[in-house]
């Protein structure tokens, strides 16, 4: 049978652990414990207060009216001598119940409406969504007042009215979430299987939006409480002799000058409830994150102790004199799930003037992070170690201003995806000329002329028109040309191209590679670092190639050597695994068994050994150093087995 892909760990135990993990996540959120405690207090008061304090809350005592705050009456008394504190406590139950009821109505109606809008097609959907938009334009309180009046006024009307008014935001959120899920491929896959719409909704869409909905629901209940209180405050909700916090607040505000405690009491109660419910919502949001439920492969492995630094041979002397860029022992560390992770584990190389250096690797090899670190773009939460020397100057020795100036002048980066690398809100001309105008202090007209000239250099016709355009108006190939043109504005010595053609059509890819070649062989002889996963592409365009695996360079060779005699088993395996058109179709393709290792926890010894065809015992324990090949000083290899590559 075919290769059995290795599946690392035993399956998770079932549901109870899942729930347990979620509960733990809930409690460890800073708001989690606080909200549980506060909720308990609220519910406790709601249940208990009417049992014990009902008498004090309703007994009138005209003689003792408007008593101030004191030991006898913690919040004083109202116009009829009733104890305010007792009234606030007793009102808890009614307020919460009303708010919950209104919230429940809003959730029920809102979810139904939202799902309906999401599953309907064409004109129906547009109509429903437009109607929803229009409904959202009416201030919710107005709608609540109105609807309350329709449904009979008073408390019942208020509850239904608030529920109705609040259902529209819920509907909107539900429909937006459901529609965003609708575009996912697993929904398409389920439809292709023949899953019926109802099941699609409940088994596929809803579970994937559940945590967002839960947060929305919590907020809906908060709003329910607040809106009911608002209506009561306006005299439209609870009517005497019933009282909730809103009603109490209304009385209190009317007499705020005489007995401010009468207003502050209910005010604090409302605020406390709102805060509690909001906090609960936030804690729920954290707990509902499904990545916490079953730990992923990455999180579970404890990071093995880092091997002591293995000597990395410096690259051979470059032709053409001083290298324009020299990197020694570059280490890039970023915070990971279980601790800091070395994405780049000690990389050294040099780029000669006018040279095209290719860096080849698969995902997780560290090739992109190497380039980013050289360009000073490593993530701020990470650390960069080692020495980088650009045009003879050590970057670490420079002040920030000098560093910025040097990098702006001598180094440019072209990124992979031109559609996201350009700011959609700014015109092309603005983006191209910002650096020239601000850093090099060019006048606006001079900067634009320069930009137009660069656009011509990258073969974009009618450059003045393109400068005024927005990025979304250009095709992918043109956007990449604009990126390259922008990179050339400062006439750099080194251009780093990180997968510059991966997002483009293959015919456009060839054009862009032509362009890079022109830049390299042109007047300025710009050196290029070409990063790619495509060995064939690299083999056609580069003078020298670095092969990276799991954060390290495993082979450093020039083009001839790559074409005729690659030595490292990984390089050879990569070559063998490339699909060749026109080759024999019957035979299975050569593959590299196993999986690309997790950079946070690579195998001990040589990281490639589990997948290597020629691994020996030593490979399992000792990390092979990158050394200069004794028979060929222009080549470096990191492998125990390769002939003559050290002991």
């Amino acid at each position: 049978m075919t290769i059995t892909a290795s599946v690392d760990k035993p399956a998770q135990p079932k549901s109870w652990l899942r729930r347990h993990v979620a509960v733990r996540a809930f409690l460890t959120a800073p708001s989690g414990v606080a909200s549980v405690v506060a909720l308990a207090v609220l519910v406790g008061v709601a249940v208990v207060a009417p049992l014990y304090l009902d008498a004090r809350a309703t007994e009138t005592d005209i003689a003792g009216s408007w008593a101030g705050v004191g030991a006898d009456h913690w919040l004083g008394t109202d116009a009829l001598g009733r104890d305010t504190f007792a009234r606030v406590m007793v009102a808890t139950r009614l307020t919460l119940l009303l708010g919950l009821a209104a919230g429940a109505i809003s959730i029920g109606l809102g979810v139904a409406f939202g799902l309906l809008a999401a599953v309907s097609r064409g004109r129906w959907r547009t109509a429903l969504l437009r109607g929803l938009d229009a409904a959202l334009c009416i201030p919710a309180i107005l709608m609540a007042i109105f609807a309350g009046a329709i449904f009979g006024g008073g408390v019942n009307g208020a509850v239904v009215g608030v529920g109705l008014a609040l259902c529209f935001p819920i509907a909107r959120i539900t429909s937006t979430l459901a529609l965003s899920i609708g575009g996912r491929e697993y929904i398409s896959a389920a439809r292709v299987l023949g899953v019926r719409p109802l099941r699609l909704m409940f088994r596929y869409t809803l579970p994937n939006i559940s945590e967002s909905l839960v947060v929305a629901f919590t907020l809906s209940i908060v709003s329910g409480v607040l809106f009911i209180s608002a209506l009561s405050f306006l005299g439209l909700g609870t009517q005497a002799p019933e009282f909730d916090w809103g009603g109490l607040l209304s009385e209190g505000v009317a007499n705020i000058a005489i007995a401010p405690a009468g207003a502050l009491g209910p005010a604090i109660a409302i605020a406390f409830t709102a805060l509690t419910l909001s906090l609960t919502g936030e804690a729920l949001a954290r707990a509902c994150n499904p990545v916490l439920w079953t730990s992923s492969r990455k999180q579970r492995r404890a990071a093995p102790p880092e091997p002591t630094a293995v000597p990395v041979a410096a690259p051979a002397e470059t032709e053409g004199g001083e290298p324009v860029l020299r990197v020694d022992d570059l280490v890039v560390t970023v915070p990971g799930a279980v601790g800091p992770v070395d994405i780049v584990k000690g990389v050294s190389f040099a780029v000669a003037p006018g040279q095209v250096l290719g860096i080849v690797g698969e995902s997780g090899s560290g090739k992109t992070m190497t380039a980013l670190a050289v360009a000073g773009l490593a993530p701020p939460s990470g650390t960069v170690g080692g020495t980088i020397t650009l045009t003879g100057r050590r970057l670490a020795d420079l002040s920030k201003a000098e560093l910025d100036a040097l990098l702006a002048r001598e180094l440019s980066v072209v990124f992979q995806d031109p559609s996201s690398a350009l700011n959609p809100a700014l015109r092309v001309g603005v983006q191209m000329t910002l650096s020239a105008r601000i850093i090099r202090k060019l006048r606006r007209s001079a900067a634009y002329q320069l930009a137009a000239a660069k656009l011509r250099d990258v073969h974009i016709g009618a450059p003045d028109r393109q400068l005024k355009a927005y990025p979304h108006q250009l095709s992918g190939g043109m956007r990449q040309r604009v990126m390259i043109g922008t990179g050339l504005m400062a006439e750099p010595s080194v251009l780093i191209a990180d997968e510059p053609t991966t997002a483009l059509d293959v015919t456009v890819q060839a054009q862009i590679m032509d362009l890079l070649e022109e830049i390299n062989t042109g007047d300025r002889s710009t050196s290029i670092i070409l990063i790619s996963h495509n060995l064939a592409l690299v083999s056609q365009n580069c003078d020298r190639v670095l092969v990276m695996y799991c954060g390290r360079i495993v082979e450093d060779l020039d083009l001839d050597q790559l074409l005729t005699d690659p030595k490292h088993p990984y390089t050879r395996a990569l070559l063998a695994a490339m699909p060749k058109p026109g080759g024999p179709r019957e035979a299975p393709m050569a593959t590299i068994g196993g999986e690309v290792p997790d950079i946070a926890a690579p195998p001990a010894g040589c990281p490639f050994h589990p997948r290597c065809a020629v691994a020996v015992d030593r490979c399992r324990t000792d990390l092979p150093p990158l050394v200069i090949h004794p028979e060929d000083r222009a080549r470096r290899v990191a492998c125990h087995v390769v002939e003559g590559a050290g002991v």
């Binding site: 107005l142 979430l177 529609l179 209190g252 809100a425």
Partner: protein, 366 residues
């Protein structure tokens, strides 16, 4: 760039960084989920004209949207009023109204005619500027509204301006400081404080402010609408919550924007930080804020309604409540329509402003 949502401000409270909700809220409601790949979808929407054509289509679409929304509003309010149980005239005037008065008012307002006729005559009256008359005072509703709309609009507009002026810089600074998980304590503090104040409803803030500054410390007037001092407390009360909510949203959006690739490009050009924030990040953040701003205005109007009752401002808010209490539904109908129409108008204006800031909005269908 993720498209910002159209949900009311309160709906975004309680969101944490990168929570799926904030990204989910960004999907455009017009997204066809049926198998149409991205670039094709955009092309289908854009149609065949160039940019000038895009603007025409955009304006046309917005005007159609405006008219539709207004129509929906009219129908909804009209129907809702007719749904209120009881005879509208008796409700307002009470049981001791004379039969002649009842008959006269019924005939004047056409309550005895079939519904669709009532609606048609209502709409035609609307175009002539006639919103009916109060049953009790016989004042034309348009006059009532005209006299009292000034203070309410003042309040809402000043509050809106304050909300934008405070929360956008606040949120952007908070976003800039806490990006990449740095300064966790500031993040927690920011989230807690904004969460706290966002949870407190406007009438509550109004109450507390009234107590503090008008009763205890007699700094500002507690009632009335004369002069700018009378605006201070109501504006603060109405805008406190939304400022916090918008600031949170702006911070999340700033974090989102800063994680985009084009910011990395700007950094690779070694642009100074102020340029990255000011020229690159701000327009994109502004898009999100503006979108919310339209709906925020709806909330602010709603808030104004309540707060006016606390501070006894003679605006539409108190008019509305008095009318509801007195069951004067013709007045309620008129006020709701006017306020709703103002909100719709503001939202449309915001859409136009959005299109100026973010050119891709031109081709979106909503």
């Amino acid at each position: 760039m993720p498209r910002p949502c159209r949900c009311p401000a309160w709906a975004s409270r309680g969101l944490e960084d990168g929570h799926e909700m904030s990204t989910a809220l960004e999907a455009s409601p017009g997204t066809p989920a049926d198998g149409v790949a991205g670039p094709t979808r955009r092309l289908v929407r854009e149609g065949r004209e160039g940019r000038a054509g895009s603007w025409t289509r955009f304006v046309l679409r917005r005007v159609v949207g405006l008219v539709t929304a207004l129509l929906a509003l009219l129908v909804a309010v009209f129907v809702m009023v007719r749904l209120i149980p009881g005879d509208p005239v008796i409700n307002a005037l009470g049981t001791d109204a004379t039969p002649e008065t009842i008959a006269r008012l019924n005939a004047e307002n056409g309550f005895d005619k079939p519904l669709y006729e009532q609606f048609l005559s209502y709409v035609s009256n609307l175009f002539q500027g006639d919103l009916g008359r109060s049953f009790i005072t016989n004042e034309p509703v348009t006059q009532i509204i005209g006299q009292r709309i000034g203070p309410s609009l003042q309040l809402a507009i000043v509050a809106l301006a304050l909300v934008f002026l405070v929360s956008i810089p606040l949120g952007m600074v908070a976003g800039g400081v806490t990006q990449g998980g740095r300064h966790r304590r500031i993040e927690v503090a920011f989230t807690s404080v904004t969460g706290m104040f966002a949870a407190i409803p406007d009438y509550l803030t109004a109450t507390i402010l009234a107590f503090l500054f008008a009763v205890q410390i007699q700094l500002f007037p507690v009632a009335g609408a004369d002069g700018p001092q009378s605006l201070v407390l109501p504006v603060l009360a109405v805008s406190a919550g939304p400022i916090m909510t918008l600031a949170r949203l702006v911070r999340l959006e700033t974090l989102n924007v800063l994680s985009n690739d084009y910011i990395r490009t700007a950094r690779s050009q070694r642009l100074p930080r102020r340029t990255i924030y000011g020229r690159h990040a701000l327009p994109n953040v502004l898009t999100a804020a503006l979108t919310i701003g339209g709906l925020l205005f709806a909330n602010l109007i709603g808030g104004a309604v309540i707060v006016e009752n606390v501070f006894a401002r003679p605006g539409l808010g108190s008019t509305l409540v008095q009318a509801v209490v007195a069951k004067e539904y013709v007045v309620v109908q008129g006020v709701t329509i006017v306020l709703g129409a103002i909100v719709i108008g503001v939202i449309m204006l915001v859409d136009v402003a959005l299109a100026l800031v973010d050119p891709r909005s031109l081709t979106r269908s909503t």
